[in-house]
């Protein structure tokens, strides 16, 4: 069953055609890799999917609902969460608060209930806090719950960003270079965790990554971008044997 369907997506930056006729199908619970050389338009795809940029043309359908034109926060509430290439945590807030903000739209008490600290507020804050700690446990971050996010190491910050994104209970999770700056051991650990997340949260994952070992290790399908166009897409084995892809990556 398709969870995300992107057709004919395109955007211009000034005179530059950053993305052209982009298409993508993601089924429920799938793990897909988005690869391509620097400047191919990978992050632009993420920015279009999450409403940071508005597409010049094309359509994005999430779970039978057209989402292009919507603002970032609405899209997040409908079910796409993401991480950022250059970590964007709430640096001066605690690790726990970072996750709680990820859950923002899941809080049900009203503004007034919050101010007056009524029973519903207290109860929900408690439940959500436990939930947040449980999520942090995935990466063993729960011990740092009260630490400032900025005090975490680089790798831990990347992991916290993933936890924050998961906290919104997304249908689709976008990971922008999750292994950037990690050593090989950490990368292998991360691979396993991503796999685990995919299974236990029943969430579809689209990830941008330069580390081919990670991509080939966990992704079922791959889409290759070059100069803003889809060069190849489909099953992992078909794509890596695609002549065009080999040409783009290795030259002739």
């Amino acid at each position: 069953m398709s969870i995300l369907s992107v057709k004919n997506l395109g955007i211009n930056f000034g005179g530059l055609r950053a993305l052209d006729k982009f298409h993508l199908e993601i089924n429920k619970g799938e793990l897909i890799g988005l690869i391509g050389p620097n400047g191919a338009g990978k992050t632009t795809v993420f920015n279009l999917l999450t409403g940071v940029y508005q597409a010049s043309e094309g359509e994005i359908i999430l779970d039978n609902q057209k989402i292009n034109g919507l603002s970032s926060d609405k899209i997040a509430r409908i079910g796409i969460s993401r991480t950022f290439q250059n970590i964007r945590l709430f640096q001066n807030l605690s690790v726990l608060d970072n996750v709680k903000i990820g859950m923002h739209s899941k809080y049900e008490y009203s503004f007034i209930e919050g101010i007056l600290k009524l029973k519903k507020y207290k109860l929900e804050e408690k439940i959500k806090e436990e939930e947040a700690l449980k999520l942090l446990k995935i990466f063993n971050l729960d011990v740092f719950a009260s630490y400032k996010a900025s005090s975490l190491s680089y790798g831990k910050q990347r992991e916290l960003e993933i936890v924050r994104a998961l906290a919104g209970k997304p249908k689709l999770l976008l990971l922008d270079e999750p292994a950037a700056g990690m050593n090989p051991n950490e990368t292998i650990e991360l691979m396993n965790t991503i796999k685990k997340i995919q299974e236990s949260f029943e969430v579809a994952i689209l990830l941008i990554e330069h580390d081919m070992k990670l991509v080939l290790g966990i992704c079922e399908k791959i889409t290759v971008l070059n100069y803003g166009r889809v060069l190849s897409c489909g099953k992992k084995d078909d794509v890596i044997n695609d002549k065009e892809v080999i040409k783009a990556y290795l030259g002739e």
Binding site: S72, D73, A76, S81, L93, I101, G102, H104, L116
Partner: protein
């Protein structure tokens, strides 16, 4: 959870004790009208600094127009008390309506500044406050340049203290709720906040409304304490004064800014003997404080 409740409880007892102590002192005539006046102004300043903290400290937006919201609350509430003349509830009603009016202007300012931040926001809020002041200067219904006189002096220390107390409690409650977290998240990173499902626009408006409403409340108290209003009381200097309290206390640090408000209310009174050097000293203190604060921050000593 339990801890938070205890803290609130302690806070309530603490503030009540202070209040009773001051009431006791004044009933035995240890505190004359002059000192009570300073204490009242102190409460008003604390309301102002707490309210500015919502925008500047928690939302992290630079504004230079807080005196504008205060002026709206002051003039409108004074107008209402005159309109209702001597009805029993005229003062609370006037205070509420004055604050409401300031809050409405808060929405307007928030709406037009949604996309702006940093210096641009500072400039536009400065311009807003100047427009308000200029219009008041030319509005004959409220006395224009010669001032709005004959406002009944309803404000006393007890009133100001009670309202200050409520404002502080409400502000803390907002910050401790999901709305407060959302506002803090926007300060940290707007794009990440909105990717986390936070409606950035709405929460900015919320912060402005709250802040403006409280500033209007402070204005209303001020109007009914002074008995006369002049547009020149709401110049840029006033906005800067509140901002300075906020910065000295540490942005987003309520306790600190309350202490800063207390000190900066007392300071001019203490310097009265050397009044010709007062502004000079104030200026030097400002610059030195900023330089010292930065020096300490760089050394990692104090944040």
């Amino acid at each position: 959870m339990k801890l938070r409740f205890n803290n609130n409880f302690k806070y309530i007892i603490f503030t009540t004790l202070i209040f009773l102590f001051i009431q006791l002192l004044s009933s035995f005539n240890f505190l004359n009208r002059y000192y009570q006046g300073i204490l009242t102004i102190m409460c008003i300043n604390i309301i102002l600094v707490v309210s500015l903290n919502i925008i500047a400290g928690f939302l992290g937006q630079l504004t230079l127009g807080h005196a504008g919201f205060m002026a709206i609350g002051a003039y409108f509430s004074a107008y209402i008390t005159k309109l209702l003349s001597n009805t029993y509830f005229s003062f609370p009603i006037a205070l509420f309506l004055g604050s409401l009016m300031a809050g409405i202007f808060g929405i307007a300012v928030a709406l037009i500044t949604l996309r702006l931040k940093g210096d641009y926001l500072a400039i536009i809020t400065l311009a807003f406050a100047e427009v308000v002041r200029n219009i008041l200067l030319n509005l004959d219904v409220v006395g224009g340049a010669s001032g709005y006189v004959g406002i009944v002096k309803h404000t006393n220390f007890a009133y100001a203290y009670l309202i200050m107390f409520v404002v502080i409690i409400l502000t803390i409650s907002v910050i401790k709720s999901k709305s407060g977290r959302a506002i803090l998240a926007i300060k940290e990173d707007e794009i990440a906040a909105s990717a986390s499902g936070v409606d950035v626009g709405n929460y900015k408006i919320l912060a402005f409304v709250f802040s403006a409403f409280f500033a209007g409340l402070a204005g209303g108290l001020y109007a009914h304490y002074m008995g006369i209003l002049e547009p020149k009381a709401f110049r840029l200097d006033k906005s800067v004064e509140i901002l300075v309290m906020c910065v000295l206390g540490g942005m987003g640090n309520l306790k600190g800014s309350i202490i800063a408000a207390i000190i900066l209310t007392l300071l001019p009174e203490l310097l009265q003997g050397i009044s010709s050097y007062r502004t000079l000293l104030y200026a030097v203190v400002l610059i030195v404080m900023m330089l010292a604060k930065n020096h300490l921050t760089l050394k990692g000593g104090v944040k």
